[in-house]
Point group: C2
Chain length 241, copies 2
Amino acid sequence: MAEAKIRLFVDQPLGSGQAVGLNPDQAHYLFGVMRLGPGAALRLFNGQDGEWRATVAQAGKRGGVLTCVEQTRPQQMPPDLWLLFAPIKKARTDFIVEKAVELGAARIMPVQTQHTNADRIRQDRLQAHALEAAEQCEGTFVPPVDELQALDKVLATWPADRHLLWCNEHLTGAATVLSRQERGPWAILIGPEGGFSEREQARLAAMPQVVQASLGPRILRADTAAVAAITLWQAALGDWR
Amino acid sequence: MAEAKIRLFVDQPLGSGQAVGLNPDQAHYLFGVMRLGPGAALRLFNGQDGEWRATVAQAGKRGGVLTCVEQTRPQQMPPDLWLLFAPIKKARTDFIVEKAVELGAARIMPVQTQHTNADRIRQDRLQAHALEAAEQCEGTFVPPVDELQALDKVLATWPADRHLLWCNEHLTGAATVLSRQERGPWAILIGPEGGFSEREQARLAAMPQVVQASLGPRILRADTAAVAAITLWQAALGDWR
């Protein structure tokens, strides 16, 4: 059986024979935009029960019901990796969120630093963007996107057992540094385009959880650094082996 | 002395005391848009002589002359890495070019595969985009962007001594595969969103220069795959150590 093309996130339990009710937006998308009718197949995921093939049981203008048929993909959780980054221009912030989902981050945390321009983000928009990235890239997990928090506050309550990779102009490359580290709870911190303030740098350097490493001899934009750092982490300590 | 903020690519020799003539576009940008006047400082690079501090000697509406003062950054050539990719939507193609420049690729080669939608690209626009990426990221090298070529043709004359990393669903991760390889001339091949045709796959698999590896268990968009693959290559065999 060919795989159904349409793939939808639903915030409901999925299981064999399970009925899934649709909200008006979902009904409009499936029946109005995509023109599905009763009996048509699609794929569902909810972030925890894997991906399921479902069929349309009832189609209406403002709602409808789907029936789960069989699991088509097991749930795939990412490794325990958080991505902290200072929001930049909208397009590049969207990009960082999209790439973090694709590459397999477990939590996305926008942080405000002393040199961050943004003093607010649209958390709901970024969360929707993360969901869309998972829908399009066959993912079964949607990382939560936190509200913007001050970096100082985040660091003040940083878990004792969670390593934090700080990519800066350190002498040793991230691949080498990470190859000497152990698996477990990790996070990656990507600074703002203007860099961290001296106070922030001193604070980070003093934290025992912080691991410093370089991302090569060139200057990378924040979005590039985020992708490169997640990639190297996944290859060394994540699930890319 | 504070570093001059404005950074300009010029297609002319740079050296101590060298006079650099400006074309009308450059004169408009420097004197009209950025409002530089005689004596003002800026930075220049030409892709081969490093970065130079220069000052405005003459400013005119349709031209002008700059004088090179001193080298502010040595020329930094990337490792001998080509990036081959199948062009996708405009924004993502631009993105691949920008990231290849930032991460340090020596040559950018758009290729047409059996499942590539694009049958033409704007080579001049992509080359200008590469130049702009180098200007903005403090790079001193601008990789050439080739015209679109058929992948078949490119492979038919592939250099015997150049390895080609083909990222697919191979069992072994790229970091592990690359850690067993030797430095030298390399290239990375990123397929179209629809994947390579069976014929293309058979051809690639039969080439002794081809090295297969995986980019993890998730499905990556072509632009993400390009950044991830260059990152892992740079960390293992390039200049990121």
